[in-house]
Symmetry: C2
Subunit: 330 residues, 2 copies
């Protein structure tokens, strides 16, 4: 289990939706929302970031931290994000909808996410009129979000389900009950590093609590499924697992050049190895951090300079060797 | 450069060739030749091995040491090999011809090989009548060997030519002047570990000295070609080479299970890395030895037991880690 997330889609009443909003309208939306989020939320200072004028590296950085979507990062026109101290809460302004509220928690903590997201929504709605229809509920740019406007998602690390190919069955089972299984960066992204995001697709006709309950129940079943698959692999293919984990470690600590994708793939093996007790002297926290720090923008931030792909691959390999060689393989 | 080899094909006069020789004839051939090779040759004790009754593991072992061919190892009926102390000289009996004399030397030493092989031939011919035609020369089972019956070959390690794909041009150029380029185990075998064997194909109408001169000249050109390619790679793709060599080392020292083929491939990178000065604290002698010791029969001999493929792969990985971890990557 990695993290839980609740996001709400909202639109400011009296303004056209994003697809038909002028630059002027967008700027007014930003102004209204930013004004509502001045100061603190639940004791946390709010940081206001103008995404339109942000350097590419910085918007990529926020994307890697799951604080903004690819759509907001790569879009154009006036757009912004408001982020709380500690990065648990964020509000994207002028993404697909005027507002996308998000709350992230580590572990399976959807109810906490929902409570805080609801409070954040209350704070905004107390100052900004939001488009709401008495029968349909919250109005959104895409009909799939109409109603509660909620998306409840949990990011899971499922290397064993991928290895046994049972992940296909997870996809099928999820689809049947209208849940989506996506990759690390949401819609349309690949399952890099065996990270899968489980989320609801329906937002209409069910309460937020029902949706959260459904996702929670399915996630628990998938986690159990992953656990059984790990046990199976450990029993039936112990030496193959040992080999895979040891080779991943060997490559990560010796490569002189390595892509982000290969890194994610190998770190995934390492993470599984730790969970299965196949590696000692290396903690999951380090590996979780490496997943983030070896991504392109983070790596460049750490290096303090902009680097082309090839130089990034060299820097990534050096960084990995330095971080992992501090520990030794058991 | 790895090693030079000269082999001579001979048949005992008055006996049918192998394809039509009865078990009784084959046994008589063995008797005559063994009797001619009793005692010592050039001060070296001769060891007589009955290949027909040899355990599979032992014949595979002799094959890996280049002392017998796959054909002799896997064939049937009475057959044998006589090997000198130090393994430089060997005489296969009842392979494709009644006799296959072989002399191996490390480095480019075809003339030494030829001189010793000629002396070995003299020793045999002084006691065994050999099929010889005044016009055609030595008679052999396959017409391609008629005449001198000689095959002159040099085994080369050509990783850079393979990496740059220039090895294709080597093949073409060699073919034009009737030289063959083959893999580690001769005819029909793959170029495992980037080892290529260059040898003459014509045996008729040229003297042994001419054939040796031709192969020698071509080998020198190929060696020079390989050297230029290594320099090119080192100049243009230094970081890629560093990466390849370091990853090979990383995998060889961390894998928990590894096939013979992958081992050869990775050792080839390591060997090149040593030659290019990309690795310190590891000598080419160790790597050359590992090429031999990690092969299936050698590995089982070292373990002192017969092992199935999967267990061999585990044992090979353990052996490699033990041998390579004694040294450290510079």
């Amino acid at each position: 289990m990695i993290s839980s997330r609740v996001r709400l889609a909202r639109n400011v009443a009296g303004f056209p939706f994003i697809a038909r909003a002028s630059g002027d309208v967008r700027s007014q939306v930003i102004q209204q929302v930013q004004s509502a989020l001045r100061g603190t939320f639940q004791g946390r200072q709010m940081r206001h970031v103008n995404v339109e004028t942000l350097a590419m590296l910085d918007s990529q950085f926020l994307m890697e931290r799951q604080l903004i979507s690819r759509e907001l990062a790569r879009g154009d026109g006036p757009r912004a994000v408001v982020i709380s101290e500690g990065e648990r809460h964020s509000v994207m302004i002028n993404e697909e909808d005027h507002l996308r509220l998000q709350v992230l928690h580590s572990g399976l903590a959807l109810e906490e996410c929902w409570r805080e997201c609801d409070a954040l929504d209350d704070l905004i709605e107390s100052q900004v009129p939001v488009a709401f229809h008495p029968k349909l509920g919250y109005l959104t740019a895409c009909p799939t979000n109409v109603g509660t406007g909620i998306r409840v998602s949990v990011m899971l690390h499922l290397p064993a389900l991928r290895l046994t190919k049972d992940i296909q069955k997870v996809h099928q089972a999820a689809q049947k009950i209208s849940l989506a299984v996506r990759g690390l960066y949401g819609e349309g992204s690949q399952a890099l590093g065996d990270f899968f995001q489980i989320s609801n697709q329906v937002t209409l006709g069910k309460s937020e609590a029902d949706l959260i309950g459904e996702v929670q129940e399915v996630v628990q079943r998938i986690v159990e499924w992953e656990r059984r698959n790990r046990e199976f692999l450990l029993t039936k293919n112990k030496s193959q697992m040992d080999d895979q984990v040891a080779r991943a470690y060997g490559t990560l600590t010796s490569a002189r050049s390595i892509s982000s994708e290969e890194t994610m793939h190998l770190l995934s093996s390492l993470r599984m190895g730790i969970r299965l007790g196949l590696i000692e002297n290396l903690d999951a926290g380090t590996v979780n951090e490496l997943f983030i720090h070896t991504q392109p923008a983070h790596l460049q931030k750490l290096q303090g300079e902009t680097l082309e792909t090839e130089k990034r691959n060299l820097a990534r390999a050096t960084y990995l060797r330095r971080r992992l060689n501090l520990t030794s393989l058991g």
